[in-house]
């Protein structure tokens, strides 16, 4: 029996990384929000590796944070190791990576949800989304409770018709022995959405008491304390190491001998898996001449003996998994606590979405996270916060909020998804960004915090910090132009030591800072005119001055890019009726309904000539309208 159980502005289905960010965003923006999940203990679970960040992903976390999201803070507060990657590869690609304590991460996020004003969380399985007069009106749960709402954000991850595969055993299930969500998948299909089927997998978890670390290389966290959040309270952190070992020829032989038992090669798996996250059997087959593959053994947390074996993702049968693991130095006596498995799931083809992550066909219905064909906690969270923001803005009858490819990795991610789609679980990479030098993790606040503040998501505390930091940066950049470093033996001795050429006359500090081998901290030794500034200010001054020329070049490219982004296309344009478009362009444009000329130009099959035709058509329309009004 169905019964009315409540009224909300925004209902979020699922409490993973996407769902939690979505719910927090909409609640913080003042909308009455409800999270429905099939297991409250599983909020922001990490069913794959216990890590947050890395290239492009740490950029996302910083952006989520700059907008007023939770992932950065939650990681800072629960991390058990942090390292800055890529420090020698340039400012654009510095990337923070954290080992998270899985249990702590979940508990803290759940508590954050519980403490959030305007937000209810309930353990209920959603079976149906109600649509009235073409738009979302509510959700129905498995016990008959019906909630009315104006917007629904579906963030069901890999649960839709999830199927777990371990060797030749397979059964319906969500990740980590959860229930799958079966009826909702059919419901989405009935609502007219096109679904695809993807696959991903995870390695075994082993008992740390059966691991011989003496045969592995230790990997410590950085001594310097790093944080994701621009307003992190964490000043010191207890850290634990990870361990590095390698597969052996024996491992590869075991895999080759048992390939016939792999569900992948036996054809049990139909879904498309990600290339960046291949199973070990895949790696051994595809890169047959590689003598060894590296294996990281990572702690899953401080209050568990379970360890994650990165590099050994597999869906081979458990007996083979054990043999395989035991052929790796340090794991000779290892015991498996949870076997590795593959999971197949239904996914919404993301080209059916607008850049706001609202479905094009059902107003009020949003999808975010792994359901949209992505992979990764960070990619999910990034979509979650954007869907949450836009659902809230729709409720408040305000303009939607989107980010362009030139503004944020979030923009790159969502534009790739909704414009190009994806034929494998999508992972963000810095190589996907056109304006990488502008989208650094260090300046995410400069790019996004004002925007987050304007839509009512950024707190006063965060906003204040941001204003002060960037004011200090601006002032210091100006001041550097006026400070002169005197020539002389004292200065030249320092320069010589750094392998920098000596100066013969007094030189503006800013000119010295442009030299690759000299950084801001060097200047402190060359002049008394410096008072210590915070590291984040120094880092920014260094980057902005040293890479000024390259940054300016990218800014000029962005200017051209934005001109086309700024030419908006209405949703109701009948492309079939536009003379001069190629047949393919008409079909694609009709299907995608791009929101701007810029987006149209990125759809495959739409040529520059088609774009010219569209521009002329837009001008024709404008004049016809102007003529009609006279």
């Amino acid at each position: 029996m169905r019964y009315h159980a409540g009224d909300y502005d925004v209902i979020v289905v699922g409490a993973g990384h996407a769902g939690c960010e979505a719910a927090l965003a909409s609640a913080r923006m003042g909308c009455k929000t409800l999270v429905l999940t099939l297991n409250l203990d599983n909020a922001t679970g990490m069913p794959c590796n216990p890590a947050v960040g890395g290239p492009a992903k740490s950029h996302l976390v910083k952006e989520i944070d700059a907008l007023g999201g939770q992932m950065g803070l939650n990681t800072d507060l629960t991390a058990i190791q942090m390292r800055m990657l890529n420090t020698g590869k340039g400012p654009a690609v510095h990337a923070l990576r954290a080992q998270a304590d899985k249990n702590k991460y979940q508990l803290l996020m759940k508590k954050t949800l519980e403490s959030q004003e305007n937000l209810d969380i309930k353990q209920l399985l959603v079976e149906e989304i109600l649509v009235e007069n073409g738009r979302v009106s509510g959700v129905v749960t498995h016990i008959g409770a019906v909630f009315a709402t104006r917007t629904v954000i579906v963030t069901t991850g890999t649960y839709l018709k999830g199927r777990i595969i371990i060797g030749n055993v397979h059964f319906p299930g969500g990740p980590n022995s959860q229930f799958p969500s079966v009826t909702l998948s059919d419901n989405l299909r009935n609502l007219g959405l096109e679904l695809g089927r993807f696959k991903t997998g995870t390695p075994a978890r082993v008992d740390r008491r059966t691991v011989d670390f003496s045969k592995m290389a230790i990997q410590h966290g950085d001594e310097e304390v790093h944080n994701f959040s621009f307003i992190s309270p964490v000043r010191q952190r207890e850290q634990v190491p990870c361990w590095l070992t390698y597969t052996t020829e024996q491992t590869h032989q075991i895999i080759r001998d048992n390939l016939h038992r792999s569900p992948l090669y036996a054809g049990i798996i139909e879904g498309v898996g990600p290339r960046y996250c291949p199973s070990i059997e895949d790696k051994v087959v595809r890169f047959a001449d590689k003598p060894q593959h590296q294996i990281f053994v990572e702690p899953e947390g401080l209050i568990t003996y379970e360890m994650y074996v990165q590099g050994m993702s597999t869906s081979l049968p458990p007996d083979v998994q054990l043999q395989m693991l035991r052929s790796v130095p340090g794991l000779e006596n290892v015991e498996i606590m949870r076997p590795g498995y593959a999971i197949e799931y239904d996914q919404v083809v993301p080209t059916q979405l607008k850049a706001t992550l609202e479905t094009k066909t059902i107003p009020g219905l949003y999808t975010a996270g792994q359901i949209n064909g992505t992979s990764g906690y960070e990619e999910a969270a990034a979509q979650g916060i954007m869907a949450g923001i836009n659902a809230a803005l729709q409720v408040q009858e305000k303009e939607p909020f989107t980010l362009s490819r030139a503004e944020a990795y979030i923009g790159v991610l969502i534009d790739d998804l909704v414009t190009k789609g994806t034929n494998e679980p999508y992972r963000l990479m810095t190589a996907r960004a056109e304006y990488r030098l502008l989208l650094r993790q260090d300046n995410a606040d400069h790019r996004l915090t004002q925007k987050g503040y304007d839509i009512g998501l950024v707190s006063e505390v965060r906003y204040d910090h941001y204003m002060k930091k960037w004011q200090a940066i601006g002032e210091e950049m100006e001041r550097l132009k006026t400070i002169v470093i005197p020539a002389g033996e004292e200065t030249n001795a320092v320069l010589r030591e750094l392998g920098s050429s000596e100066i013969t006359q007094s030189t503006p500090a800013i000119n010295l800072l442009r030299r690759p081998e000299i950084n801001y901290k060097t200047l402190l030794n060359l002049s008394d005119d410096f008072t210590p500034l915070s590291n984040e200010v120094i880092e920014e001054v260094d980057i902005e001055i040293k890479y000024e020329g390259y940054i300016k070049k990218q800014l000029a490219q962005v200017e051209r890019f934005e001109k086309l982004e700024g030419r908006k296309l209405r949703e109701d344009i009948n492309y079939q009726g536009i003379k001069g478009l190629s047949v393919e362009a008409r079909q694609k444009l009709d299907k995608f309904k791009p929101s701007s000329i810029g987006q149209a130009s990125r759809i495959s099959g739409v040529s520059p000539a088609d774009i010219s035709v569209l521009l002329i058509w837009l001008e024709q329309e404008r004049r016809r309208v102007a003529g009609g009004e006279q």
Partner: protein, 460 residues
């Protein structure tokens, strides 16, 4: 800010004047860079709609390119409603092409088909009724242009550029894989190795620029051989063509004593007539040089003019020559049609010679020479006369693209040398790859991602 665009505004190969049109915010500045007025030093300040006499000078080499007339039309009072500069040059393909390239090097870009009209319309200079015809132009020219550019490319140049692009992508994938997957054990290249790869690629680009097939025709002329049996009228034909054209004719001593080359200009296409000596001695080519040497000579030819006798018909000698040149680009000329018409069965001839064009002429009476010239131009420009502009333009486009790709690669090499970090060096390498993609029509980010996963074993 809009790009500043440039194109040749007059039909190619016709007329004694050719106009290069530049439109956009930088048009006048570009004019100042390439144009040296005889008087009117302050033309760019005050002269509007006035012709200014002077020279186009390459700002890099200070070389005088052409004697020209220049006019300025300031926006909004111009066709596009932007600042427009028009340079009237001598009409041949060579000067036009060189002026165009000099202008392109000053940071302008080649206009897309119909782009001047498109800008005129978008800036309110043309009325609604004209919009449709602009769309027609964009459509028609783009489709034809793409086909011709591909046909032109088909073969060596395209293969070479594709190979180059493949290499560049490999270099880029290497850098990007290490950036995006720092924890995977991807073999890292040393700076020296990377610099070495950059240098290797630079050399290939330089070679391409030196040997660009297309450039060669305009720089050195189309290597042309006139063949036919004695007394068929080869020398009359040459003399007639020499009389027809108004350009300079020079004698260039050949590399061997018996080969003398003569350069003549057919509708702007320089034709280098080879072995005119043998031709004047009214000897049979094959008889004189022997089969091997004749084959060699004919193989070097870009174009062969086969002259047959309308009066005597096909002889043994003719058949021998036809056999040698079946695979080549041949224009068949049936000469002496003022005397006789029916001695040669054209249908049968077609069977023998394949798909070559057959023209009837009289070298003596100068009949049919105009059609001959048209046919030569058409052949050079790969197909139809109407397509001339596209092919011509695609030549310049390719050459400039190679030059730009080279510049970015040089900067990348410099950056590696200066220890500029890889995330920044990769910007130039990527630009270089994308620019080559303008030639091959192929450079999407997905290719890079595919390459990373194809080349490296990545994954947790």
């Amino acid at each position: 800010m809009e790009d500043t665009i440039v194109a040749i505004a007059t039909p190619l190969g016709e007329g004694s004047i050719g106009i290069i049109r530049i439109s956009g915010p930088a048009a006048i500045d570009v004019g100042r860079l390439v144009f040296q007025p005889k008087v009117n030093q302050d033309w760019y300040i005050k002269d509007n709609y006035k012709l200014v006499y002077g020279h186009v000078v390459d700002p890099a080499s200070r070389e005088i390119i052409d004697e020209v007339l220049l006019s300025v039309m300031r926006g909004p009072r111009s066709f596009t409603a932007e600042d427009v500069v028009e340079i009237s040059c001598h009409g041949g393909i060579v000067p036009l092409r060189r002026v165009l390239e000099v202008v392109l090097r000053q940071g302008t870009r080649l206009a897309e088909p119909g782009e001047f009209s498109k800008r005129a319309f978008l800036n309110g200079r043309l009325d609604l009724a004209q919009a449709e015809s602009i769309i027609d132009i964009i459509r028609a020219k783009t489709d034809a242009g793409a086909k011709i550019a591909m046909a032109q490319l088909g073969g060596k140049l395209s293969d070479k550029v594709s190979a180059l692009q493949h290499e560049l992508l490999g270099l880029l994938a290497q850098i990007e894989a290490i950036i995006d997957f720092p924890e995977d054990d991807i073999p890292e290249e040393t700076l020296e190795e990377m610099a070495g790869r950059c240098n290797g690629l630079l050399k290939v680009i330089e070679q391409l620029l030196d040997n660009a097939d297309t450039g060669k025709i305009y720089r050195e002329g189309l290597r042309t051989v006139i063949v036919g049996k004695p007394n068929v009228g080869k020398s009359s034909l040459l003399n007639a063509l020499l009389r027809e054209q108004r350009a300079i004719v020079t004698d260039i001593p050949g590399t061997t004593r018996d080969v003398i080359e003569e350069v003549l200009n057919i509708k702007g296409v320089p034709l280098k007539i080879i072995d005119t000596a043998g031709l004047r001695e009214t000897q049979d080519l094959v008889e004189k040089l022997g089969v091997e040497r004749s084959k060699q000579l004919l193989n070097q030819a870009d174009l062969i003019l086969l002259v047959l006798d309308a009066f005597t018909g096909l002889s043994e000698e003719d058949l021998r020559v036809i056999d040698l040149i079946k695979e080549k680009k041949v224009l068949v000329l049936i000469n002496k049609i003022d005397i006789a018409r029916n001695a040669i069965d054209q249908a049968e001839l077609k069977k023998l010679i394949g798909f070559s064009d057959i023209l009837e002429i009289s070298a003596q009476k100068e009949i049919g020479l105009d059609r001959l010239e048209q046919s030569i131009l058409a052949l050079v420009l790969e197909g139809k006369i109407t397509a001339a502009e596209n092919v011509f333009v695609s030549n310049s486009r390719h050459k400039l693209a190679l030059e730009r790709a080279k510049k970015h690669l040089q900067e990348a090499g410099w950056g590696i040398h200066q220890s500029i970090p890889p995330d920044i060096v990769s910007i130039d390498i990527k630009s270089s790859w994308e620019i080559l993609g303008e030639i091959t029509g192929n450079s999407v980010t997905e290719d890079l991602i595919d390459r990373i996963f194809a080349d490296f074993c990545i994954g947790k």
